[in-house]
C-alpha cells in the first residue's frame, strides 16, 4: 500500500533493456524521412513512452498509492496549460481576429 514493494529484479533489468532499445529506435527514426511535423510527434511519443516506463517501474508508480500518479499527471496537465495557452498568443501574433 505505501510503496514498500520490492520491485523484482527481472522487471528492473527488462525495463532498462527496453529503454536502451527505445533509445536506439529514437535515433533510427531520426534518420528515416518522416515529413515535418510528424518526426517531432514520433520522437515525443517515443520519449513519453520511455518516461512512462521509468515512472512506472523505476519510480514504482505501478505499485504505489495512486495519488502519487495523480500528482504527476497534474504536473503534465499544468505544463500543457502553460504551453498551450501561450502558443495561442505566439502562433497567432500577426493573424488578427480573422483566424476565426
Amino acid at each position: 500500500m505505501s510503496g514498500h514493494h520490492i520491485i523484482p529484479m527481472k522487471t528492473l533489468i527488462s525495463t532498462s533493456l527496453a529503454l536502451v532499445v527505445l533509445t536506439i529506435v529514437t535515433v533510427a527514426v531520426f534518420y528515416l524521412p518522416i515529413p515535418a511535423p510528424f518526426d517531432v510527434v514520433v520522437a515525443l511519443l517515443l520519449a513519453s513512452f520511455k518516461a512512462t516506463l521509468v515512472g512506472m517501474f523505476f519510480m514504482g508508480l505501478y505499485y504505489d498509492e495512486k495519488f502519487n500518479t495523480v500528482v504527476l499527471m497534474f504536473s503534465f496537465l499544468f505544463f500543457i496549460v502553460f504551453i498551450g495557452i501561450t502558443l495561442l498568443d505566439t502562433l497567432f501574433r500577426d493573424s488578427g481576429i480573422s483566424v476565426w
Binding site: 505505501s2 520490492i6 529514437t26 531520426f30 518516461a51 523505476f58 500528482v71 504536473s75 505544463f79
Partner: protein, 216 residues
Amino acid sequence: MAEAHSLENPRLQHHFRNADQQFSSSKLGMWLFLFTEIMFFGGLFVAYIVYRAWNPELFTMAASQLDTVLGAVNTVVLIGSSLTIALAIRAAQTDKQKQIVNYLLMTILLAGVFLVIKYFEYMHKFDLGIFPGAFYTFEGIDHPKANVFFSIYYMMTGLHGLHVVIGIGLMIWLVVRAKMGDYSSKWYTPVEMTGLYWHLVDIIWIFLFPLMYLIE
C-alpha cells in the same frame, strides 16, 4: 512489513503515529517536489517550443552543431544510472548493506561519465565561439537568432547538469551514511527519495535528447 517494526523503530518521529504514515508522507512530499521540478523545467520547455515554432529552420540548422552520438551515449549512461540506483534501493529493501554502497558508487560513476561527456561537448562549442547569450561569436549558422537557440540549449542542459551535480552530492552523502549502516529494510527513506529525484533527472534528459540533438 514495516508494521512489524514500527514498535521499536527509532526512526519514527514523535508526531507520526507509525512508520507507514511517516514513509508515505515522505513519498507524497517527494512527488510534490518532483511536480515543482517539472514546472521549473517546464518554463524552459515553453521557451523552447515557442522559439522552435517561430524559427523551425533555425532549430534544424543549429542542431547540426550538436553531436548525436555523444547525446545518445549520454542517454544510455543515464538509463544505466537509473538502473543502478533502483538496484541500490532494492539492496536496502533486502538488507544487503554492501550492495547499497556498491550500487550507489556505480550510480555516481555513471553520473560522472555523463558530466565528462557533457564537458567535452561544451568545450568543443566554446572553441567554435558558441558561447551563451551575448558572448556568442560563431558564424557558421546563417540565422539572426542563432544566439537564442544556443541560449536555450545552455539554459536547459546547464540546469539539467546542475541537477546531476546535486544528485551526485546527495549520493555521496548516501554512501557515507550507508557505510555507517544507517539504511536497512526497516528504514531507507533517503535512498528511496534520492532515487525518485534521480529518475526524474533521467526523464528530463529523455526529453531533452530528441528535442535538442535530433532535429531535421
